[in-house]
């Protein structure tokens, strides 16, 4: 490879990631101000507040030791999360397609799985004062079941994260394999090439079904409101994030925005055939998808209550079946 190609590629990768980062910090604000606040007939926060200013503010706060059996590991987890999302985005950029197996669907599925496993660890390492360690004389004479094992709220959300791995993320993974079935290859480079020759996957029956399934999977992975069983305000308050303070909390904020962008980029690679690349006009499509997805999911979450398993299982199962149908439709 010539030196100029390497410089070009490196510039493209770094530029794309910087653009992705800049876009992603505005997404929570757009979601909050232009969708939820408008639907709720109020003015809402400034667009920069939830995504940019809040992480900045947390960054400048005092670093405290979280109530956790393994405080350092607990604090390191959001960094792990942001690195994983970073790698997913990195493998989506066309300049990196020479990496071979790492730029395949399998690698991305694996990385997303690790992202989910991180929630399980976060939940089991957090020991917030908001539940069990709140001093209150409740085990007294006459109390019911005084000698039972007592657990923290976060244990509950860790359990739920475990279940999400088991069934909640099915829709997303099935949707990822619709373009694979169409292009006949698990490599992102081949999928993009196939779409450049035959038109985007989205403009076929299987593609439309797959896109719907992908969208539901996107909401589940991001814990958007109807599927936010990990951090339901009504029982587990904030779930795995309970003990993050100061800069570690700002990492969790940034991870969320970054994940939103990355999943949208994944969608545009797999369903539109346009990988994120700063050096082509296609990046505009990426940005458009990245803004459209949070808006759609915010509209959906503004009009739905939180799901319990009674609603979650049928929705996840139904959407998964739809995804299987989409894959079958690719063979017809």
């Amino acid at each position: 490879m010539e030196a100029s190609t390497i410089i070009y590629s490196t510039a493209a990768v770094i530029g794309t990631i910087i653009v992705a980062f800049i876009i992603s910090i505005w997404l929570p604000g757009i979601e909050r101000k232009f969708v939820q606040a408008r639907i709720q007939q109020r003015i809402g926060p400034p667009i920069s507040s939830p995504g940019i200013m809040a992480p900045l503010k947390f960054f400048f706060k005092e670093t405290i030791n979280p109530n956790s059996p393994l405080p350092r590991l607990y604090n390191a987890l959001p960094l792990g999360g942001i690195i994983i999302v970073f790698f997913i985005l990195l493998f989506l950029i066309p300049e990196m397609y020479f990496l071979g197996a790492l730029t395949s669907i399998i690698a991305i599925v694996g990385l997303l799985k690790i992202e989910e496993v991180i929630y399980v660890f976060m939940g089991s390492f957090s020991r917030s004062i908001m539940s069990l360690s709140m001093p209150f004389p409740d085990i007294i004479k006459g109390a019911a079941h005084p000698d039972i094992k007592r657990s923290f709220l976060e244990d509950l959300s860790s359990l739920r994260a475990f279940r999400l791995i088991a069934f909640g993320s099915f829709p997303l993974y099935i949707a990822l394999f619709v373009p694979v079935a169409m292009a006949g290859s698990i490599f992102l480079g081949d999928i993009v090439l196939y779409q450049q020759l035959n038109g985007p996957v989205l403009f076929s029956v299987a593609g439309i079904l797959g896109a719907i399934v992908f969208f539901i999977g996107y909401m589940i992975l991001l814990n958007e409101y109807p599927f936010a069983i990990l951090k339901t305000k009504a029982d587990v308050i904030e779930g795995p994030y309970m003990e993050y303070a100061a800069k570690y909390r700002s990492y969790t904020y940034l991870t969320r925005g970054f994940l939103m962008f990355t999943l949208s980029a994944l969608f545009s690679v797999l369903f539109l055939g346009i990988p994120p690349n700063i050096l082509s006009w296609g990046i505009l499509v990426n940005i458009l998808v990245a803004i459209l997805f949070p808006i759609l999911s915010a509209i959906m979450s503004a009009f739905s209550p939180i799901f319990t398993f009674k609603q979650f299982y049928p929705v996840a199962a139904g959407v998964s079946i739809l995804g299987v149908l989409a894959i079958l439709a690719t063979f017809v």
């Binding site: 539940s131 709140m134 039972i148 709220l153 739920r160 109807p226 009504a234 209550p305 009674k310």
Partner: protein, 377 residues
């Protein structure tokens, strides 16, 4: 209290999840211990007492007017009904006939308070459901009621309308105020009807609340549930029919079947138009004359008891008058008798629904924390 309905011996309780005293779903400080197995609640225990401030003790030996205005501080949501009932105790004991206009104004205030309490319940219920948009819309409607309350009573929360012998002079309803109330009622009726349509036709909300945390009629009677929570189980019971001041008004007592979260939420939605109906009748037929009768004389009495129907259920006040002073005050609030139902309702349901089961009984733990004596029958 025994929550022994579905929890029989063979159930294995895996762990205990504790919430409170500070928790977003509760708002008020109380502790709930949920004994769960695989996220299904097998038993529940609610511990109250966090809010106990001993109002009855403070009332002991106060002049009756002072004690009456103190009862308002029992609860910030149903403050008017407390002072109303407490004043009625004194009026019963001293045999005071209040002017008809005053009685009408008290009813208007009582019904406005019921509106605001029911709307608050709906908003809070939706918040616990996770439906922020509906909660916001209800809060938007509720602001109209709060403005009316501020206009009549002078304060958004504690208005102090009733005094012994009538109502406070500042609560006189003139033409301007009557006009404002009329406009407010039209607005509320229209908006609540709109909301109700939207609410019952939402499949996701309906699947969340239908059949969740039901309280059967028999259990409701056993647990001495009161108020709209009791009416939602199918028992036709409303003290307003027995209260003298409600005699001139024509209204329906609504009962629903099932006692689940859906029935409870719809109960409040359906009671709002009834309250609007009462307020409309009251301002239409508002009699003239004075609003306060100050010709009463203080005397010693025996123990006097009075019941009224508050927004959440039966409210009981009693005290005796001795040397112009209040002695032996007892307050029994609706949420007190609903605690058993709250514990009962969560059992056998998912842990996210358990909070809903508690909220469906319209808890108000500031009311609840009274000095009580439980007698086992």
């Amino acid at each position: 209290m025994d929550g022994k309905k579905k929890s029989s011996g063979q159930n294995v309780i895996e762990t205990e999840i504790t919430m409170g005293p500070v928790h977003p779903a509760a708002l008020e400080p109380y502790r709930v211990r949920l004994f769960v197995e695989d996220e299904i609640v097998k038993d529940a225990e609610i511990t109250v007492g966090v809010n106990h401030r001993g109002i009855e003790r403070i009332m002991e030996g106060l002049p009756v007017e002072k004690a009456n205005s103190l009862t308002e501080k029992i609860c910030g949501i149903c403050s008017n009904v407390h002072i109303w009932n407490s004043v009625m105790v004194a009026e019963k004991g001293l045999e005071i006939e209040i002017p008809e206009r005053a009685s009408y104004i008290r009813v208007i205030m009582g019904e406005l308070e019921r509106l605001h309490s029911h709307l608050l319940y709906l908003a809070h219920g939706n918040e616990v459901l996770g439906h922020e948009t509906f909660a916001m819309r209800i809060f938007y409607i509720r602001e109209t009621v709060m403005e009316l309350l501020r206009m009549i009573g002078g304060n958004r929360v504690q208005y102090g309308v009733s005094i012994i012998g009538g109502v406070r002079p500042r609560c006189e309803l003139d033409e301007m105020r009557i006009q404002k109330i009329k406009e407010g009622m039209d607005f509320i009726e229209e908006k609540v009807a709109e909301f109700a349509d939207r609410f019952v036709s939402d499949p996701m909300v309906m699947s969340r609340i239908t059949g969740v945390c039901p309280i059967p009629k028999k259990e409701a009677l056993r647990l001495a549930v009161s108020g709209p929570t009791l009416r939602a189980t199918g028992v036709d019971m409303d003290l307003r029919r027995d209260m003298e001041c409600y005699d001139p008004f024509d209204f329906d007592v609504i009962t629903l079947e099932g006692g689940d979260v859906k029935a409870n939420l719809l109960m409040r939605v359906l009671e709002i138009p009834e309250s609007v109906k009462i307020i409309r009748q009251a301002i239409k037929n508002l009699p003239g004359g004075p609003i306060t009768d100050r010709t009463w004389e203080m005397q010693d009495t025996g123990v006097i008891k009075s019941y009224v129907e508050a927004a959440r259920g039966r409210l009981y006040h009693s005290y005796r008058l001795e040397d112009d002073r209040v002695r032996g005050s007892i307050v029994r609030t609706p949420s007190m008798s609903n605690i058993g139902a709250m514990q009962y309702a969560c059992i056998g349901h998912h842990i996210t629904d358990a909070q809903l089961g508690i909220v469906q009984c319209d808890p108000c733990f500031t009311c609840t924390d009274r000095a009580i004596q439980i007698i086992k029958l």
